[in-house]
């Protein structure tokens, strides 16, 4: 097998002098082009894991390699530069609510442009054209100059995807991208992510609440429980027993179509 794209080795994150252990010795590998879904209960460490991978949260122990680079060793400055290759989308979209969709999408290029220009709000013509292209791709071209908070939840998440696309990423981290959306919109958003994965070859790490979504879109699933890796395998391998192990005895599987 080829060299894995992402390697996580013995990743541990401890908050508050040992009071809260968010991740306990998590190790796994991801091949280029995989669509890896992370499942687990709320508070099981999914968000912390994703944020450790682009070091929005500093890991306490362990090493992370992306494309052969040990990112846990990078200086803050080098890390900022490296983050350009890692797109991220969020549960609550995290858009600039008062700014236009266009501005929001252009923020995806902040890492590529000189600071003084971006501070004045100037972006090169090529970036603006790329923004329009990406907005067209997520079906929001006619909303380009509408304020972001005037859009519906699903549309806002698509702006989030366009923002990530602007980075021309190799890796996409999606932190519960559809938890705040209704089932119908969820699928439309997931399909855009799937498209990025299939057509642009972007490796995707997505945390999801619903197992049915995880089975439908994931090429591989890992499960966290209380910060520990309790499952790593193909979607079909999660049977009733495994499910109860991950989600607890009383859990019932809910279908989302």
């Amino acid at each position: 097998m080829a060299e894995p794209y992402l390697v996580v080795e013995h990743l541990t994150k401890v908050y508050e002098r040992g009071h809260v252990v968010a991740l306990k010795d998590v190790s796994f590998e991801v091949q280029k082009g995989e669509f890896l879904v992370i499942i687990g209960l709320s508070g099981s460490g999914k968000s912390t894991l994703l944020r450790c991978i682009n070091r929005l949260i500093e890991p306490t122990k362990g090493r992370i390699f992306i494309d052969g680079v040990e990112i846990t060793k990078l200086s803050p400055r080098q890390m900022r530069k490296f983050r350009r290759k890692i797109g991220m989308i969020f549960q609550h979209f995290n858009l600039i609510k008062r700014a236009t969709v266009m501005t929001n999408v252009l923020t995806g290029r902040l890492g590529y442009n000189p600071t003084w220009m971006t501070l004045l709000g100037i972006f090169p013509r090529s970036d603006r054209e790329l923004a329009l292209k990406n907005l067209e791709r997520v079906g929001l071209l006619e909303k380009a100059y509408v304020r972001a908070d005037e859009l519906s939840g699903g549309q806002q998440q698509r702006v989030g995807i366009a923002r990530a696309l602007m980075q021309e990423p190799e890796l996409l981290l999606a932190d519960e991208p559809v938890s705040a959306l209704d089932p119908a919109t969820s699928h439309s958003v997931m399909q855009y992510i799937e498209q990025m994965n299939r057509e642009d070859g972007v490796t995707v790490l997505a945390s999801l609440h619903f197992l049915s979504l995880a089975r439908r879109y994931g090429t591989r699933i890992i499960a966290l429980k209380d910060g520990e890796l309790v499952f790593d395998g193909a979607p079909e391998e999660i049977d009733d027993r495994k499910f109860k192990e991950i989600y607890g005895e009383e859990a019932e599987e809910v279908e989302i179509r």
Binding site: R17, G18, H19, V21, R51, N54, L56, R80, K81, F82, R83, R84, I86, G87, M88, F90, H92, N94, L95, I96, K97, R98, A99, T107, G108, R109, L110, G111, Y112, T115, T118, L119, G160, R163, M166, Q167, L173
Partner: protein, 419 residues
């Protein structure tokens, strides 16, 4: 079992005499100490204040004099300590309520009478010398088998407030404080005068409704000066308060140095704010007085506005959504870019809104500052009032009312637009 320790610490105890063990002892010990002391101090304060107020009311009502001490000070001190010990051992004290805890057995059950008595006796050995509180569990808890547990209503029926010790305490305190407050501020003679001497103000009201039209132009000029004073003070205050607010926001000032700067600035601001603009005006009049110019008044408003705006701005900064900061940081943006695209969009409108609000306050304050000689319309009002020129004073007041009403309305409308 042992509350306050992390699980890992119990499973694998650090080797004794290792630096970690010593650090953990002090870290958890001080947290424990802080928890107990805050509860004890609250209880002692609560009991002490009630006792002093009761003394005050009793002495005042029985002898008419002012006094606070029915017993010697050392009896008072011991009494407060003892009352706190009893309250915390045999009931759910005020401090327990504030901290949302209650005294239970370590297995969660209702304490027995023996345990409560033990707890109360050992409380003196454990809490009074303070040092034993560094141990977890503290000696009085270790021996009595009781501990402070988070309070929960699970499986219980609520008691009405008059059956709880804290409820009775608060009702009693409110009653006594009200009695004391009335006895300080109102006397029988005052009341008699209030209802019999209304006629003496007739002259004032008559002149108020017959304005002196000859001073209208001069009054309008003073009015404009007042508005300008507020504008100058507010504008320069904004220039200073905006950068200061970033240093006074808890979420942006991390680390030891950051926290120090935060504390110093916040402390300074609250000291400055607690001194009224009128007092600042007198201070600056002594300093820069140049023959009744409004400059001293402007300085007074400026200083007060800086401290007020810094606080308002900083609080707004503290409540910004960290999600957007994450999102912008995730694109590879640097600090300045995060500031420009994640922080500023969230604060611009609230900042403008606060500034307008402060400008509106400053106009009202400017009239007051003028009274001590700070310039503007307040100074004119003061001049007429001290000269017994009632008609002119009435005219000026009509203009002040009109201005304040108009500015109030304008700034409210603008702020509604921004929201």
């Amino acid at each position: 079992m042992l509350s306050g320790y992390p699980e890992a610490y119990l499973k694998e105890r650090p080797r004794w005499m290792s630096l970690d063990a010593v650090a953990d002892f002090f870290y958890f010990g001080f947290r424990n100490l802080r928890k107990y002391l805050s509860i004890v101090l609250l209880d002692m304060g609560a009991i002490g204040i009630l006792w002093l107020l009761m003394n005050y009311v009793i002495i005042r009502l029985s002898t008419g004099r002012i006094g606070y001490a029915l017993v010697p000070w050392w009896v008072f001190g011991l009494g407060v300590v003892e009352a706190a010990a009893l309250w915390e051992s045999f009931g759910r004290s005020f401090g327990h309520r504030v901290a949302r805890v209650e005294l239970r057995r370590t297995d969660g059950g209702e304490p027995t009478a023996t345990q409560r008595i033990l707890h109360w006796l050992l409380w003196h050995v454990s809490v009074l010398p303070i040092f034993p509180l560094l141990f977890i569990p503290s000696p009085h808890e270790r021996v009595s088998g009781l501990e402070l547990r988070p309070f929960t209503m699970e499986g219980r029926t609520p008691k009405p407030w008059w059956r709880t010790s804290t409820g009775i305490y608060v009702a009693w305190l409110t009653g006594v404080a009200l009695l004391a407050a009335i006895s300080v501020t109102v006397s029988w003679e005052d009341l008699v005068r209030l209802f019999t001497k209304a006629g003496t103000t007739a002259k004032f009201w008559r002149s108020f409704f017959s304005p002196d039209t000859s001073i209208i132009l001069k009054t309008i000029r003073d009015l404009i000066v007042t508005v300008f004073m507020a504008m100058t003070a507010t504008s320069f205050a904004v220039l200073v308060a905006v950068p200061l607010s970033f240093l006074a926001a808890r979420n942006l000032m991390r680390g030891v140095v950051g926290r120090l700067i935060y504390t110093v600035i916040r402390g300074m601001m609250s000291i400055i704010r607690s001194i009224e603009p009128v007092v600042w005006a007198i201070f600056f009049l002594v300093w820069v007085r140049v023959d009744l110019t409004p400059f001293a008044g402007v300085l007074a408003l400026f200083v007060h506005s800086v401290s007020d705006l810094t606080k308002l701005y900083a609080e707004r900064l503290e409540s910004i959504d960290p999600g957007l900061i994450e999102a912008i940081a995730a694109t590879g943006a640097n600090r300045l870019q995060i500031l420009r695209y994640a922080v500023i969009p969230q604060i611009v409108n609230p900042y403008i809104s606060f500034t307008l609000y402060r400008w509106d306050i400053n106009i009202r304050m400017a009239t007051v500052v003028g009274v001590v000689g700070g310039g503007g319309i307040g100074q004119a009002l003061f001049f007429y009032l001290t000269g017994n020129l009632w008609r002119q004073a009435g005219t000026v007041m009509l203009f002040i009312i009109a201005l304040v009403w108009a500015i109030d309305y304008l700034s409210a409308r603008l702020r509604a637009k921004l929201a």
